[in-house]
Symmetry: C2
Subunit: 534 residues, 2 copies
Amino acid sequence: MRRWNGWGDDAQDFPLKAKGLEFLGEKLGGKGTILPDASLADVTIKVPPSRLPAHPLVSQDVELRIRHARGESFPDWVAKHSGEFGYFPDGVALPKTGEQVREVLTWAYDHGFTVIIYGGGTSVAGHINVPASDKPVLTLSLEKMDQLLDLNTQSNVATFGAGTPGPRVESQLKEQGYVLGHFPQSWELSTVGGWVASRSSGQQSLRYGRIEQMFAGCTMETPRGQLVIKDIPASSAGPDLREVVMGSEGRIGAITEVKVRVTPLPEHESFHVGFVPDWESGLKMVRELAQGKVQLSLMRLSNADETESHLSLGGDHPLFKAYDRFLSFKKCRNGDRCMFTFGVTGSKRQARFALAEAKLAIDHAGGTYIASSFMGGIWEHSRFRSPYFRNGLWEHGYSVDTFETCINWDKVNACMNAMEQAIKDASDGQPVQVFSHLSHMYGQGCSIYTTYIFKNSDNYAALLTRWQKYKQAAGDAIAQAGGTASHQHGIGRDHAPWLNVEKGAEGMALLHSIVNHFDPKQQLNPGCLLIDES
Amino acid sequence: MRRWNGWGDDAQDFPLKAKGLEFLGEKLGGKGTILPDASLADVTIKVPPSRLPAHPLVSQDVELRIRHARGESFPDWVAKHSGEFGYFPDGVALPKTGEQVREVLTWAYDHGFTVIIYGGGTSVAGHINVPASDKPVLTLSLEKMDQLLDLNTQSNVATFGAGTPGPRVESQLKEQGYVLGHFPQSWELSTVGGWVASRSSGQQSLRYGRIEQMFAGCTMETPRGQLVIKDIPASSAGPDLREVVMGSEGRIGAITEVKVRVTPLPEHESFHVGFVPDWESGLKMVRELAQGKVQLSLMRLSNADETESHLSLGGDHPLFKAYDRFLSFKKCRNGDRCMFTFGVTGSKRQARFALAEAKLAIDHAGGTYIASSFMGGIWEHSRFRSPYFRNGLWEHGYSVDTFETCINWDKVNACMNAMEQAIKDASDGQPVQVFSHLSHMYGQGCSIYTTYIFKNSDNYAALLTRWQKYKQAAGDAIAQAGGTASHQHGIGRDHAPWLNVEKGAEGMALLHSIVNHFDPKQQLNPGCLLIDES
């Protein structure tokens, strides 16, 4: 069953191994600080009576309201573990059809209720959090709409209920020989409608594209009526309205059906690892691979700190020691060496050609390709398990969070350094382990993804304050460097303070105007994406 | 010098050869009907006095007003040759900087004038035509803003003045070792700002993408103020505002600077031709090449009628006869065979690999690859010369027009047949030569481009009426089949009647709302993109 206060299914975990614990102890000044966890019963008694009138499609079940109150951001984690949720939805609607979505949305809108549209509840930016509100708050969850509704096998377009989560997307497609290929780290729980609404990107965007390239059309219920976007391969017929739906974050309506571009299952797919002796040679290598349009399906370049951290946190296996010696011999020494993870996907001929191109590039960068499938296999095995690691760290009294951006190649170094430095500076001398990788390589630039791990503060209030300082520093550093407020996680409530830096005054005015067109009374997810409505 | 009443530079032409004339005579029931051409002097005397007050940035020169009154649609052609222009702009502004654009736009807006924003004047859908208006009409041309302003050689982003035409885009980039790769047939005259405003696509979109993939950011002057879109490689920060600018067709403001994604000049580029025995095998082949992500830079599949027409209209060369015998021997017989034109572009290794893949596909389709570079060379040589062919046909009393759409693979056959049949049916028994090709192949579908040639009517009024019947029939057929109102030419005024079929009621309401946000007084290009404003 899905954990009510942590990531994923409770039959799965990603415990911290002895070597990892030792590594963190060294880096973070000793043992972690274990904080007391609230129980579900503790939270249950805090849930106030619902302010909603009865409706056949709306449940007022208390546990359901708890389970839909928060996402997966760091403040959400703190809320769930401290038991201090703040606000709860007054009810949760679980419609099964587009008609039911329209019915419940119309009912709520006409009654003046606040409506929060909910997919998989995996937001790390506060998208589905319940705001303080005089009005009753209804959370409208699409999770019962999880079917493949149609598959056009000539045009390779699949239609899904918007609440279909990643594994159900792929299992239903696989039966018919197809793949969507959208693999965000949240894939186990996030939904196709959520990917569209938050404009997300998956690990193999290099082959399959961001959700932007996959999203072909939709049906959306808005307070004004139904917005239908037809699935046309490409068009010059005026502004592209898909691009208003994508990133709308529940502000203009509820997506009920999504049409996505799929591809036949590839003949071949494999993941590989190489090492380059230092950051600069790795950076140049991945930039040239991206700009040279080499058909890899995934590229990820870990900086030296991430390389060391990953090998230490993940690596009890005896092969790691052998690799360490081998790499040192090959001039890829610990402290400078950077790990390059990549995938090849496609026809056998394409995959062979792309693999050869990648090996040439590694060689050209003075690096070493790891011929065994062991390291690539580790990545593949753990590709969706990283979120579980927060549970594993927490048990030992450590916290972890991540943040990300996307920026032009010429600013990557300055931005990554500023992001890491911002966390260190915000730490007030307390140790923090910070590391980064580049992924989602484009011709113009790439994303930068930074992770930081720190020992818990002595109490929840102090922990949250500390995180807020980190978040502010990170957001400011990115904005100042010229990166986007988010490459793949959306704006939600947590990134909203920086959106105006990216969009400018006229861009913000346009966004307000679009939201206002659909939701003049500002009842849909107020405070998400755009702040200060009035 | 640029022709005032026909395509392109008057030093260039594309005359109809003897064999082509004979072919058309056979197909279209004999010799053409030559209509009398108006002279520039004839038109000059029809230009009314300007209704604009004087402004230092605005010219009221009569020839300039004539030259900016019309684009390159069929009705525009008729207007220029009959001398019946209808309306002329009251003045033409030729600003040289963004500040001057803002100055003249503010002046015109504040005075209540109608403003038409003008790039290269190559619209084939009436984008820049002067509407009937009680108010003075100012055409604001960006043509003096034609410089490469910045080139970021790490991030491969180039900044251009919005009025830079295709050849100047590429010549300025080539000096520094880069290429944009946007090659619409109008490339000689169309501008980078116009490509963005009309959401265009070029011949090598398979490699370089549509303008949508190239367009990284811009500066735009709107009646509300300046809209600046930053060049970020990818972002999940809310709706993508580039997608509102693209396809805005002069309705929300004037783009002054455009940032585009460029690539280093390829090591290798070549164009090739093959033939397949029939349409169905060709259709399957191009679909599988596109869905298999084979890295070709261009694909074009001519149907049997286009194949025959092209070889007859273009082919006086003795090699053509030899090919004809060779192809018949190879079971690619005249009447059924379809020509497949393709390009390979990239590193030498990539081009070699892609060429091998394409040859395999042709072989698999039962077709024949033409090993000589002769046929591919013909395509390359004439890739921008087709628009000149209208001049060549006209001299012999024939008219030509084209129309296009984009549709899912499973509907391609039905749509193409409906498009061709619509023209034949609208012809009332008069002969018309209709043929089509597929190009711009996507995983989901492709564009269909149909050409029709017919003998001129006895007078201009009858010719225009006949064309209007064709246009109506073509637009209806596309809309009914489920294709887009335009894949690459935009909506303008000529396609506006069908936009609502594509966008739906709520989509249209959103477009009106966006236009209204920027231009509440509807002074910018009224009637373009959206009809019935009030």
